[in-house]
């Protein structure tokens, strides 16, 4: 199954290597990883997506916590969450072929962020399937795709009830909360995100 881990890690040299090295050791391919600053000073937030067995989630999370620079780990799994990806797609398009791309961009609620005589750049934010969809129709158009740059997934739990917030409020420990939340809010699918 696909696992999504959200981790707060210290913003220091080599920390990403340590995280990546753990997955390398387990022979798990990282599908995507995004890292950036978080709301907490000195801590980066990392969203990491990988394919591993259902049982592996616990061990990966436990192993991540064993890394000295990892402060918090959340296994999003099937919990209600919002997932987004950013894509920049450069398309070869001239005056004649441009309008067809404009139409597609409109339908997908993407944006044109760069335009030259023979190319344009599309910026698109959304769930993975939406981005895949845009890429697919662009491939079928007359305009060649020149470059694709995708950010990888970024994920955040829905509602105030993130594990981190609850723990900060002294509500208890996160493993237990994960399951309680799931019971309270039911399973989540990407389609649910799509509708909002």
């Amino acid at each position: 199954m696909m696992h999504t881990f959200v981790a707060y890690v210290e913003d220091l040299p080599g920390v990403l290597t340590r995280v990546a090295s753990l997955f390398r050791r387990l022979n798990i391919n990282i599908h995507s990883v995004t890292v950036g600053r978080s709301e907490r000073p000195g801590l980066s937030r990392l969203t990491l997506v990988c394919e591993a067995s259902a049982e592996a989630g616990h061990r990966i999370r436990a192993s991540l916590y064993k890394l000295e620079n990892v402060v918090e780990v959340d296994d999003i799994a099937q919990s209600p969450s919002v997932t987004r990806e950013l894509a920049l797609i450069k398309v070869g398009a001239t005056k004649e072929t441009r309008s067809a791309i404009f139409e597609l961009v409109e339908v997908f609620r993407a944006r044109i962020v760069d335009l030259t005589a023979d190319s344009l750049m599309v910026e698109m934010t959304g769930v993975e399937s939406k981005i895949e969809g845009l890429i697919e129709v662009l491939k079928q158009s007359d305009s060649p795709i020149l470059e694709i740059c995708r950010s990888g997934k970024m994920t955040m739990r829905r509602g105030r009830h993130t594990s981190g917030v609850l723990r900060a409020m002294g509500a208890g420990e996160d493993d237990k909360l994960d399951s309680e939340e799931e019971i309270a809010q039911g399973p989540h699918t990407d389609a649910a995100v799509e509708t909002e």
Binding site: T17, H58, R59, Y65, D175
Partner: protein, 587 residues
């Protein structure tokens, strides 16, 4: 802290003082309570060596940095304190790697300090530069590169905290030469690391304790497992109480040996690949396993799908990533073993275990009779004789440091350890060449104890250069080489699984007695069982180090044996009537 050598360090504990980075290294170690370090100098660590004379720390010069890491490891295993190894950059640092990995696999608290090239040339392939934090990343619990003098004390203090806390392990601190040369204010108190944060997934719930107690109450055929965590956690008394109160037999892992006295009536001995048949059979028949501080290593479980199928499993373990890794736990108590057992014991009452103990006892009969140590002296010298006699003559009190291979398993089978920290052996990584340097470290940790190296002729030659270290340090260690002219365990696998194709296992060795003599160490060769006792006594009585070269039966094998990948009950028994040989399906 009191007056420290000719360096007025006690003042510096309360008064922050400017020191060079190199001095800070030693000052921090002294304040951490370090008295002995093991190392090898070189260009990038020279400022640190230059400052050593000012500090009350004994430095043992090794002959190869791998030896330094093993000595620090042996020191830590024997004492329970942190062992410290020091090396220079580049090859000095890479030579540590095998020793660091050994400590990692066996969860040993070791701090390695390496010098590195100046921070200005880091990453330029400068002379003797190597990315040692990168190289050791997967084999350390943590490592850190320090480029400023003011960061040295906090880094070393943090390293000590990490090495000893939770599940222990090695930490490497890599310090650039310019950081050693620069000056900073040394303030030990201010360099204190943040409070230790236990692993957030530790969990010992009341319901789980209750469930465990319930399982113990209703078990008919329970077995307690004692692993390395018992001594690491200091839970010997608690494990013993649990065993005695519930009349439950205890099986031990290799690193668990000594956790319960070998003479204790409930002690079954070592389990797993070379465990006795009654131990492994008991596990296969058990209806409850109470695993205390162990990780269900493949050498312990054999084929997982056939492992202890009838048993519920209670897993008490401090590392959450070990839960359900190999064997699914019915009840997981994730925390410090001693603390967990202290919570569990009040919920457990006495039970009658007679029937189950009798069943196990009855299954011992035949295997014990065929045991080599019970056979009459045929004139041949067997390794089992040597180890058995060594155990008898030392009253089981000696600290035995083994290498890896057949002799290691014979030691585990025939030397019955009464106390924790008296068997020092590389279990997880299985590092040949471990014994001699680790024994030197152990001797520094317990100078008052009798220390024996038990090594094969193969492994001994991997680190034999450390004989000079013994002489230079003037320490008393007894060395027993179990010499069969082969890389014995590999030969045994070739015999069982590769049609006796003894490829690259016959081994030519120097005359070890002459080799010892060349180093100024006395020695003696032993060829018959009759000579064993007098030889061991001669070694013990000798003032200095002594080497015994036991010329044992060349093609003897360790029995019983579970072929890798086979189930616990599919063991190759001792030869005799109807030896049972299962087909192996693993390498």
């Amino acid at each position: 802290m009191t007056k420290i050598g000719n360096f007025e360090l006690d003042a510096h504990l309360t008064t922050p003082t400017p020191l060079t980075g190199a001095e800070i290294v030693w000052a921090t170690l002294v304040c951490e309570g370090v008295t002995d370090v093991f190392g090898y100098p070189g260009g990038a660590i020279l400022p640190v060596y230059d400052a050593l004379r000012k500090f009350p720390i004994h430095h043992t010069l090794v002959r190869h940095e791998q030896g330094a890491a093993h000595m620090a490891d042996g020191y830590a295993r024997a004492s329970g304190k942190v062992g410290v190894a020091i090396a220079t950059s580049g090859p000095g640092a890479t030579n540590l790697v095998t020793g660091i990995a050994t400590a990692m696999l066996d969860s040993i608290p070791v701090v390695c300090i390496t010098g590195n090239v100046s921070s200005k040339v880091l990453g330029t392939d400068a002379f003797q530069e190597v990315d040692i934090t990168g190289i050791t990343l997967p084999v350390t619990k943590h490592n850190v590169l320090v480029t400023r003098a003011e960061d040295i004390a906090p880094a070393i203090r943090h390293a000590f905290q990490i090495a000893q806390s939770g599940r222990p392990g090695p930490v490497l601190v890599d310090i650039t030469k310019d950081a050693q040369q620069a000056t900073a204010i040394f303030d030990f108190a201010a360099a204190k690391p943040k409070p230790y944060r236990p692993h957030p997934m530790l969990r010992v719930e009341d319901a789980a304790l209750e469930e465990a107690a319930e399982l113990i109450r209703h078990a008919k055929r329970p077995v307690i497992f004692a692993g390395h965590g018992v001594s690491e956690s200091g839970a010997m008394e608690q494990v013993r109480t649990l065993a005695e109160r519930t009349q439950t037999p205890v099986a031990l892992t290799l690193l668990g040996l000594g956790a319960l006295p070998g003479s204790h009536p409930l002690n079954l001995g070592m389990m797993g690949m070379h465990g006795e048949s009654w131990v492994n059979d008991a596990i296969q028949e058990a209806d409850l396993l109470i695993a205390c501080g162990m990780r269900f290593d493949d050498r312990v479980t054999g084929k997982l799908t056939d492992y202890a199928q009838k048993a519920k499993k209670i897993h008490i373990e401090i590392d959450p990533s070990e839960i359900n890794k190999n064997v699914k736990a019915d009840v997981a108590l994730v925390g410090d073993l001693r603390a967990v057992l202290e919570e569990l014991l009040p919920r457990v009452s006495g039970r009658d275990g007679t029937a189950w103990l009798k069943t196990i006892d009855a299954s011992k009969g035949e295997s014990a009779v065929r045991d080599i140590k019970n056979l009459p002296d045929s004139g041949h010298l067997y390794a089992a004789h040597v180890v058995h006699d060594l155990w008898r003559l030392t009253g089981g009190e000696a600290v035995v440091v083994t290498d890896v291979g057949q002799h290691q398993m014979w030691e585990a089978q025939y030397f019955h350890h009464e106390k924790p920290r008296t068997l020092i052996t590389s279990g997880g990584l299985g590092t040949m060449g471990f014994a001699l340097p680790a024994a030197i470290g152990a001797k520094f940790a317990c100078p008052e104890k009798e220390v024996w190296v038990v090594a094969g002729d193969g492994g001994f030659q991997m680190t034999a250069a450390e004989l000079s270290t013994i002489v230079q340090e003037g320490i008393k260690i007894n060395i027993a080489i179990i010499n069969n002219g082969y890389l014995g365990m590999v030969r045994q696998w070739q015999e069982f699984f590769y049609d006796r194709n003894y490829e690259s296992t016959p081994l030519v060795s120097p005359d070890f007695v002459k080799l010892a003599d060349a180093h100024g160490i006395a020695g003696r060769a032993v060829r018959t069982r009759a000579e064993v006792e007098s030889a061991v006594e001669e070694a013990r009585a000798a003032k200095g180090a002594f080497l015994l070269n036991f010329m044992v039966e060349k093609e003897d094998s360790v029995y019983p044996m579970i072929p890798a990948g086979s189930a616990l009950h599919e063991m190759i028994r001792r030869p005799g009537k109807n030896p049972l040989v299962e087909r192996p399906d693993d390498v």
